[in-house]
Symmetry: C2
Amino acid sequence: MKQTYEKLMASETVKKAREIMKADEAHTWEQHQELVLIPAFSRHEEKRAKRFAEMLRAEGCEVTVDEVNNVYTVIKGTGDGPAVYMTAHIDTVFPMDTPLAIRKEGDRYYCPGIGDDTAQLAQILTLVRVIRDSGVRFKGDLIIGGNVGEEGLGDLYGVRHFFSKKENADKVDGFITFDGSSSGIVTGGTGSYRYKVSFKGPGGHSYGDFGMPNPIFAMGRAIALFSQMKAPVDKKTTFSVGVVEGGTSVNSIPFACSMLVDMRSESKANLDAEDACFKQIVAKAVEEENARWAADSGLYSDRYSRPGTVPLCERKVEAVIEQLGNRPVGEIQSEESPIVAASIAAFKASGIEPNMRGCSSTDANIPISMGIPAVGMGGGGKGGGAHSSGEWFDPTDITSGLFKNYVLLCGLLGVEGLTEPLLPKRDK
Amino acid sequence: MKQTYEKLMASETVKKAREIMKADEAHTWEQHQELVLIPAFSRHEEKRAKRFAEMLRAEGCEVTVDEVNNVYTVIKGTGDGPAVYMTAHIDTVFPMDTPLAIRKEGDRYYCPGIGDDTAQLAQILTLVRVIRDSGVRFKGDLIIGGNVGEEGLGDLYGVRHFFSKKENADKVDGFITFDGSSSGIVTGGTGSYRYKVSFKGPGGHSYGDFGMPNPIFAMGRAIALFSQMKAPVDKKTTFSVGVVEGGTSVNSIPFACSMLVDMRSESKANLDAEDACFKQIVAKAVEEENARWAADSGLYSDRYSRPGTVPLCERKVEAVIEQLGNRPVGEIQSEESPIVAASIAAFKASGIEPNMRGCSSTDANIPISMGIPAVGMGGGGKGGGAHSSGEWFDPTDITSGLFKNYVLLCGLLGVEGLTEPLLPKRDK
């Protein structure tokens, strides 16, 4: 592997690529600024995807825009190499009505979404130009573009859709989500399950209908049990209730309330165990709330019921669990695995000390969970404030951060007449 | 007592009063319709109170409008009789921007607030005219008018304010809240305590800050404990959580959440016991939530904390209890107590079978809780749909319902040259 990168770094092709990249910085930054001003909230990426596809076509590429607006081109390899899918996400966390304007302060340019992940989306175009103009010929096929639905309620639907097609899942030997900080390498996918749990009952008057099960009581019981769960500690596993709402007035027994639940883990087994526990808890809480008033019926529930009506204690509460998010766990890949080792070596060969980030929740969750090697990493430039209105980007010397990604592609795919691919083809 | 009412019913004065009342019905209904179109949401009664005061002055009365817009006049008695304060509430449950228009359907007139308590407010003016024009001379003083703040978050502040003045509390021997159905007699006051409980913490990321106490967890623990309380059954006592809210997103540990709590009872001892239990529960829930993460710190709380920062498990949750409502219990008065017995007898003498309502939450809570005899009852006319947008009133034959109230005043206060007061003066 060391030899492979030594050969690459010494080659005229790769040296030329660096020069082209450097000369392209202003162009990259121009396209970056155009793209960031096109709103692209998750599941509303159409307009930005369309413009990105036009930009990719303008580089002479044959472009696919799939059913959900994933955009990509295939740069065919010369022969029997592995296939790599490299993609930056098109969507941002900012709703469509978020005011978008670029404001400069010192070396920093501020705009919602300017870093995450528009910086990398623009640099995909740069890489396409540099690959073309440096004359490099990969052995394996490179699928390269932008994908939808990475953020929040996008729930990874873009990459999920891509890999849901058998021909794609069968073809790809390695995946790079082009996302995150310039020096970081993500090697695993934190999985998450997200739910909305709704508790419902007939509701009534807090005094007149006392003795009737109360949905907020059932939810409180569920939260109390949930808060007492023991999270596994072998691999980080977490749980939270982030939002609660329900009820109409202080003197009404509510007819409905709900809570939003988040569970995450680096381990699929841990996450599934926690998930099973959560579902038991919701059922138990509802059962206990209903049973409590039934058991007390001799005390007051039936005493306060009006004759001829359903006894108050029999007007049951129930819960409905709705899944809002399902990001599969991508168990962390070892530093010896070819895609991770090749990434580390490419960073070092390019003069960047890699920051091993371990698990994170990214588009790489999907392929890793399917057994397809995958990593996550950023490109060039500096940035901060992701997901906040103070998000910023500094495009100074993009090349020093972006060059490593070109080198990694060369390493993984192999270069005709120069190096063999570092990424093995998968058994399919 | 029977003799007293026989004398009254046989007297020319009382017979004349009935004729005057009958002849006044159109006038009563006219003023009723004018008053109901003046918005008077609790704590926003000024405009309606001002108009009501003008109407009272137009009857030749010297009118007091106190600091909070209670409006009343004093009809002086001839001598050493008891003092009665009779009042209808000016406020309604309808916010100031509620569209107010009177719509007729059959014999029913629909308008928000047309029954509760505008009907009785208008009939206060009728009673003043009838007392004046029938020439009746009471032995005791009658304080008669309209008061603010009976409904909802008004929290009885009008009558509470009136009786907070020593000269008023010392003067009044009996109280009538002129409110409710025509045939009902309320003899006790259901007490209630209402609270907003806010749970606060630093908040953070559901995954990154796992191990930090969660305000929603603390609230859930409190609700679960609260839902398990045993309500006393000797006298009806209830508890409920009616509203919960809090949190900003599924993947954040919230920094704040809150719940609205309602507790009611016919017994002060029961209500206070429940209240003490509730406060212990809130403290215990917060303590347990904080203790849980501190105890687990060896497992993950401190493990996930960033070096150099306050450990996650030490970022405590706390609760603040804010009282929104405090309606004192007015323990139910026996049917043998003079004010209740006189009310029952006045109803019967006037041909109305009284419907003993027992406890309710009305302005009478305040005087009863202070040991001042008090009852609640409506006037004339039929109505329904109180507190709803479909509230209606039928003014047909107001006199048949209202006459009893005149008779009761005669009975309680005593009529010069005819009857002795049925209401004793209080030891003060």
